[in-house]
Subunit: 403 residues, 2 copies
């Protein structure tokens, strides 16, 4: 790695400085998310407003380099989530600063850093990598193609992922920036995605936000407070294996462009029928209030209130053998598609699940085939990563991988 | 236009509803910026955290279409800045809703909408457009090329621009989304840019933020409170002409990619020398505190404290015949450059000035030629637009253009 964490970050970490602040920096109290927990932060943590996501490829073929990278990232992640300020040393005046500095004074801003491992970290072109074959969860394979996929390789895959979420987009960007600097010479950015405005509620304390189609999104999400549901649908259990993933989860990301020109020209009735909910209130069709239970059999004027191809019908646990996923996505908007005259905007879908093969894959297969909403969406990016449990103090994220 | 404003927006406007809210929507009090003012909002307004900027080309060659578009935009802008909620009508159930709805419940969020006219609105390919030759300010021509420019046509130019700024990125996006829908059939998006984290302070009430190079940016900006400075450097005066631009200003935008890999590998001394300020404190080199006056003659160890090629020396009013500009830019980050392994991030520079030919152009020429910081920057997009004064109640933005 180009930087020793000796220059800056670990000094701050070892000082245990949580209260004293350097220079003009002011760390807002109560804005830090704990790092050393049984589960990695950024999964059941209440979702903040901003995302910077990076998929990273490892160039080195040395398992020592990979282990060192994860060790340094762990120290850096703990430091960054604590909002610890940058402090140049005399040595840094003549060398490049360890921390590029754009988050000085911003505080922790509820930053979370979540790290995952793609299938390509274990095997590429049929060859084992990093001597990790015995650690490879057998179900952790690339997602299958889905009908209508329009995936771009420059927005898909990756050996590693880092999800940085924060209330301040500059803090999220900074976290990815620092981790990429630490990786220099060992691993490099494959693709990145920024997002804003959570598109799911992951806690009962948060109101349901709207996506860029104007609908409330995530009303029936798994909530972090529902420990039983989290264990059943999100956290890898001892019976699942492998042992190093116990208490971890699998993250699926999909960059989903919304075809807003056609959607915007669709009648309100047509939009509500495609979603299966009222636009303004968020109530399931046939009901009155957002949190009224979804009744897939309810009739209106002799017809099903929720059409057969409505999104909430096809995504419902009742239609999917009880399977649920924890959604935690963000909206995105980017420079318009050249010459299209259209906004490039949509959803950077993120879900966490215990077993993507039993959860995300069949649900998405059903949606891609039949969902009325899917006709207004284009999946342009995709990734799947195994997120191990949180690290022990003194340990590092993914330590069990090397056991 | 595809939508009559009769469907939704003007109904809300004419109802004068500022306090009653529909359904679950809650409009935060005190979050609205006044619309009918002598100057357009979004220029001297304290800068919020988020930007959505659109450059738009007019396809129609009818001056009536252009006038109608500006009239409808004016009504919509007033409505949106008021944070007025979406309210579907019975008619809209069977037709497409006027408002796509993603900002329902978000409130005004200090939204400002600023509209400008590019040189290409007046003349294209040597031919007059819209019978506007007599209204064309003679100095309102495209920016000249600058050394090192790497402009992309898909990120540059435009007949019209709309700058939407807000504390909530979804509200800024929504404003552009609605205005583009209104324009359908008459004008279409040419390019767009989102930004976050203001990179200038435009009011004495705001602390100076940091850009993505980690430096405080905008310490010596023109401040909205300095009325004399605003009149001297920002607002078009009666002596400047043409009459329809009195109280208006010219906006220059530049998409400036930061070459962060090389910058990050530069020593702290090197970075501070290129900028001319200390990184953490923001103090001018040779001084102690951020707001200490810049002393271009100060010496340290017998050398100029602020190097001859430092950014703040070359951008200083002292180096530029007293000329100043009002900067109001935002950071941006986008999906990484394919295959580069690098973050695509930088500054969407925005400045407002009374006469770009006397202000932005000579300053940027000097920076492009000699500025040490410029070697770490790549200008990839560019635009210039004339922003007329604020509209009178009952009138519309740019009305004077058609007098």
């Amino acid at each position: 790695m180009a930087l020793g964490i000796g220059v800056g970050l670990d000094r701050l970490l070892s000082s245990g400085d949580n209260g004293e602040h350097w220079g003009e920096s002011v760390v807002a109290e109560g804005q830090g998310v704990p790092f050393y927990e049984p589960h990695q932060a950024g999964i059941s943590t209440p979702q903040p407003e901003h995302l910077e996501f990076a998929a990273i490829d490892v160039a080195s073929d040395s398992v020592d380099d990979l282990r060192s990278l994860l060790q340094e990232w762990t120290v850096a992640a703990a430091t960054l989530m604590n909002g610890e300020p940058y402090e140049p040393t005399a040595a840094e005046r003549a060398s490049a600063p360890a921390d590029p500095g754009e988050a000085i004074g911003a505080g922790p801003a509820r930053l979370t850093i979540t790290i995952g491992f793609g299938p390509s970290l274990f095997e590429a072109a049929g060859k084992e990598r990093f001597n990790l074959a015995s650690s490879w969860p057998k179900s952790h394979v690339p997602l299958p193609p889905f009908r209508g996929d329009s995936l771009e390789s420059g927005r898909s895959g990756g050996d590693l992922c880092v999800q940085a979420c924060a209330e301040d987009p500059q803090v999220a960007f900074h976290a990815i920036h620092v981790l990429l600097r630490i990786a220099e010479g060992v691993a490099a950015l494959r693709w990145s995605q920024q997002g804003f405005g959570r598109t799911s509620s992951t806690s009962r304390e948060q109101p349901t936000p709207r996506n860029l189609m104007g609908f409330k999104d995530g009303t029936n999400n798994v909530r972090a407070e529902d420990k039983r549901e989290m264990d059943e649908h999100v956290w890898v259990q001892p019976s699942d294996g492998p042992a190093w993933m116990e208490g971890g989860t699998y993250i699926v990301v999909r960059r989903i462009q919304m075809l807003l020109d056609v959607w915007d020209a669709t009648s309100l009735e047509g939009q509500e029928g495609a979603v299966g909910r009222e636009k303004v209130s968020g109530a399931p069709l046939g009901q009155e209030r957002e949190y009224d239970p979804v009744d897939l059999e309810a009739k209106k004027d002799g017809e099903l209130a929720i059409p057969v191809d409505a999104h909430i019908r096809l995504a419902s646990p009742d239609t999917n053998g009880g399977q649920r996923i924890l959604r935690r996505g963000f909206s995105y908007t980017e420079p318009s598609l050249a010459g299209s005259g259209q906004l490039d905007a949509g959803l950077f879908f993120i879900s966490f699940q215990r077993d993507p093969q039993r959860q995300f894959v069949p649900i998405q297969r059903r949606l891609a085939a039949n969902d009325a909403l899917s006709r207004h969406l284009l999946h342009t990016g995709s990734g799947i990563f195994a997120c191990p449990p949180g690290p022990q103090p003194g340990g590092f994220i993914g330590e069990g991988l090397f056991a």
